[in-house]
Assembly symmetry: C3
Amino acid sequence: MSAIEDRLAALGVTLPQPAAPVANYIGAVKAGTLVVVSGQLPFGPDGKLAAAHTGKLKPGMGVDAAKAAARLSAVNVLAQVKAVVGDLDKVVRVIRLGGFFSVEGGNESLPAAMNGASDLVAEAFGEKGRHARTTVGVAHLPLDAICEVEGLFEITP
Amino acid sequence: MSAIEDRLAALGVTLPQPAAPVANYIGAVKAGTLVVVSGQLPFGPDGKLAAAHTGKLKPGMGVDAAKAAARLSAVNVLAQVKAVVGDLDKVVRVIRLGGFFSVEGGNESLPAAMNGASDLVAEAFGEKGRHARTTVGVAHLPLDAICEVEGLFEITP
Amino acid sequence: MSAIEDRLAALGVTLPQPAAPVANYIGAVKAGTLVVVSGQLPFGPDGKLAAAHTGKLKPGMGVDAAKAAARLSAVNVLAQVKAVVGDLDKVVRVIRLGGFFSVEGGNESLPAAMNGASDLVAEAFGEKGRHARTTVGVAHLPLDAICEVEGLFEITP
């Protein structure tokens, strides 16, 4: 097992089978030393979207469910990277995560929710996991998911 | 004519003059072996935004108009790539499509609508057209367009 | 001082200390000859988000505040690039700006608002500032900011 997967295991994370795209595209593309990962929904290890990870982030609602969903989405991002490069130890740098959250009304939770994804990546990759990120609140996401996370990685040549 | 344009012609698609940006930017930028394409609206071959391709994707509304709009946006993405590299046969890989749909209320149509773009690229480029993608539902798009599609391509050095 | 910063100074722009990320990520990442900049909020030179640059772009509202906010966000994007590469003269090309505006209801102001960012970059970088861009209207942004701008740059090896 790779060093990064060891660290994920220590965090209690096992990479799932990468989610099959819900339409006519693929989960990740390698181009030179870049890997571009499709927007990942917060499917659980069972491949299902839990009810708690659907709907919208609303005012007054706690951030825990959205944060957990973002973490799951990030796990699925990593599963796609592994599927396309074979071994997460080939990752030189997590360049960027893009987070979209389905929201209703204003709220102060967007950055904290996206930390569910950022924290996982930071814990798993350490220095290599220091990434750029963009977080926005959108009107709707596929399958009514509460979040969607995409990624950009640099890998060894 | 290039092989890819031949295939587009067989699909009934002629690349239009690339749409002039509606503001102070350009349609696509080449950087090394990457081509980054600006978000493209679903202008038709006549350079106009049809009423059917404006407004919002709403619950209970069929997906056909949004899917057709996404296809048109993807055609415009390809026109921008051609304008910057000269020949679509230089495309090594369609790396990523990003799709934004203007939505109101929940609906199950986002992935199917974005397939309008993905299917065109897959039909035109075959294996090279297997791309990553992110699809989100947003609150509003320029010119009240129902969708906007951006792209990232790898080309020959 | 670098040539680009001279030009910015002539435009009345002094690069601020790059804004500290509001969560667990960093402002920009260098990968090879690419620099990827996190979504930047319209913090002013004092590091504060002015009330005029929060809330939503609404029908009937003028575009001036949103345009000024986009310009500030772009200034912050450049500050992040400088922080990671040391000197804006190393920028070979502004590849892409992505603009997200918090909106309510339809309006015709999105492209004009995003020009606040595009114009600054064009004025500062000239030919090298001719960039691709994507502009969308979203439901909510971190800290209730009216806009968020991310960037992609090519730099010298």
